[in-house]
């Protein structure tokens, strides 16, 4: 059962199944291909891409926590131009849409990066990774800077705990969908007792995220919400759809259990056959008549 993420049009984003990986989990494309059946996913989200190369973080990058982990990579990547050189051919052969996850320090930088990625046919949509400390007005600047440089579907990934006001600001500026959320930030001591900051992963993230996803869905009826945070089972993913999400992104659980993505994909595809979620009338009609949705 296809799920529409963006408005109908030239670059409409429609997923065959409402599950994808979160940015930063599966690399840029080929790293997990021996271990994951990508055809079972709705889309593939790339690792963060920046306009210029970013170096890896210094110091401790990974701290194991009880039933979780803190990870701080610094989002190393060779910059948008090199990423395209390395991966555009691979992406063009992917069985599913490729969503490029873009990060920038400033709206101007975002604009330049989006302009470069917009020309790339192998990219179906763009996901904007927004920093943690942005006010709703600043969210609007970033999304506006991106939206004016592309006609491709834009997904705005908000920081953990962002409110419906952040989501509304992103939608008003031109985002087609809201990704809720980036993993929350935390601080923990490394084995040498140094305090280290990073993003938190683990099952406990889900209850925190689920509540806010439900709140945004209620405050912004009709919004296309892609929920992300702490999904570790098929039941976790279903909970997000129950809370009003249209699709889900799975993060660090995939590192331990790579087959989880495909299991969730199959489970949600089956679920949607009996209980459409995030489906518009046109798509439902196409599905029932057997005509392709794209």
């Amino acid at each position: 059962m296809p799920v529409r993420i963006s408005k109908p049009g030239k670059y409409s984003l429609v997923l065959d199944t409402p599950v994808m990986n979160a940015a930063g989990i599966l690399g840029f494309g080929d790293q997990y291909r021996p271990l994951i059946d990508f055809a079972a996913l709705g889309a593939f989200v790339t690792n963060p891409i920046t306009y210029t190369p970013w170096n890896p973080a210094s110091g401790t990058r990974v701290i194991s926590l009880p039933s979780g982990a803190l990870v701080h990579t610094g989002l190393p990547n060779p910059g948008s131009s090199k990423v395209l050189t390395l991966y555009r051919t691979l992406w063009s052969r992917f069985p599913i849409p490729v969503i490029a996850h873009v990060v920038a320090h400033a709206p101007e930088e975002m604009s330049m990066c989006i302009a470069m990625l917009d020309r790339e046919e192998s990219i179906a949509a763009l996901e904007i990774g927004l920093a943690d400390d942005l006010a709703p007005s600043e969210v609007e600047w970033y999304i506006h800077a991106a939206a004016k440089r592309t006609e491709k579907p834009l997904l705005a990934r908000l920081h953990h705990g962002a409110s419906h006001e952040h989501a509304r600001a992103a939608l008003d500026a031109g985002a087609d969908a809201i990704v809720a959320f980036a993993p929350p930030r935390g601080t923990a001591r490394d084995p040498l007792a140094r305090l280290t900051a990073g993003r938190l992963y683990g099952p406990m993230i889900k209850p925190l995220t689920l509540r806010i996803v439900g709140q945004i869905a209620r405050k912004l009826p009709g919004v296309t919400l892609i929920a992300a945070g702490g999904i570790h089972s098929e039941a976790d993913a279903r909970d997000y759809l129950d809370a009003g999400a249209t699709a889900v992104q799975v993060d660090a659980a995939v590192w331990s259990d790579p087959a989880l993505l495909a299991r969730i994909g199959k489970d949600l595809a089956g679920l949607l056959l009996t209980r459409p979620v995030g489906i518009d009338d046109e798509l439902l009609e196409q599905f029932l008549s057997g005509k392709p949705a794209r």
Partner: protein, 247 residues
């Protein structure tokens, strides 16, 4: 690389601090080479959350033998989930006659799988144990391996100048918590002891915690001079002449 399952067939304590597990694995996993490792998940719950890196040390009767800390409990008959092989094999010089293995503040386990093939090829092997690695018991290692323990907690050991000059190649593993700091100190030591450090001579064996192990997450990215490398893909052994030690 494959995801597969294995059975712990045997658990044998080899010293006060370490034990060895004999794993029944798929035949493809037995092709694992020195330098490569396994990413292991032991349970279906999320504790521990990330997979653990297990290092093979030998193959015995078609069972893959790994070395693990003695404090961990493993039950014969238990099934574990593997992703393997992780990383690239060690690249030994074709003209290799003698090799120096160094472990500082960490057990030498990631280096041990290389011992047998090196000895079979009549390569002279010296294992230097520094810092907390000095307490690593070595009675279970092949008697042909020369064991040298460091003086105190620093980077000195007996006949250091001779050993550094004599070795054709050096592989060093250090504490994963202070990797770049300790590799830098080793690099400076070798620069002091040798007129020059050629390429393919001194290797840093990286053993950070690997969230994904396949080159996707970027957590094990190592800075090189003019680029980066992923320890889980191009490593674990990276030529120290390529590393960037700047903060």
């Amino acid at each position: 690389m494959n995801q597969t399952q294995a059975i712990i067939e045997r658990v044998r304590r080899v010293s006060d601090s370490h034990q060895r597990l004999s794993l029944a694995v798929e035949s493809s996993v037995l092709n694992i080479k020195p330098g490569q490792s396994l990413l292991v998940r032991q349970t279906n719950n999320w504790e521990p959350y990330l997979r653990e890196t297990w290092y093979p040390v030998s193959i015995d009767n078609n069972l893959l033998v790994v070395e693990r800390p003695g404090a961990q409990h493993y039950a014969p008959g238990s099934v574990i989930d593997l992703i393997a092989p992780i990383g690239s094999p060690f690249r030994f010089r074709k003209t290799l006659r003698s090799i120096l293995l160094i472990a500082q503040d960490t057990p030498p386990t990631p280096l041990l799988y290389a011992l047998l093939p090196l000895l079979v090829n009549r390569i002279a092997v010296t294992l230097v144990l520094l810092g907390s690695a000095r307490t690593y018991a070595t009675e279970h290692l092949p008697p042909e391996v020369e064991i040298v323990r460091g003086d105190g907690d620093g980077l000195t050991w007996q006949n250091q100048v001779t050993a550094v000059g004599w070795a054709d190649q050096v592989l060093a593993v250090v504490s994963p918590d202070r990797e770049m700091e300790q590799f830098r100190a080793l690099w400076l030591l070798f620069r002091e002891l040798r007129a020059d450090i050629p390429a393919n001579y001194l290797f840093a064996v990286h053993t950070p915690t690997l969230p994904c192990g396949v080159g996707a997450c970027g957590a094990c990215t190592v800075r090189l001079q003019g680029g980066t490398a992923l320890a889980c893909v191009e490593g674990p052994a990276l030529d120290m002449t390529r590393l960037s030690f700047s903060p």
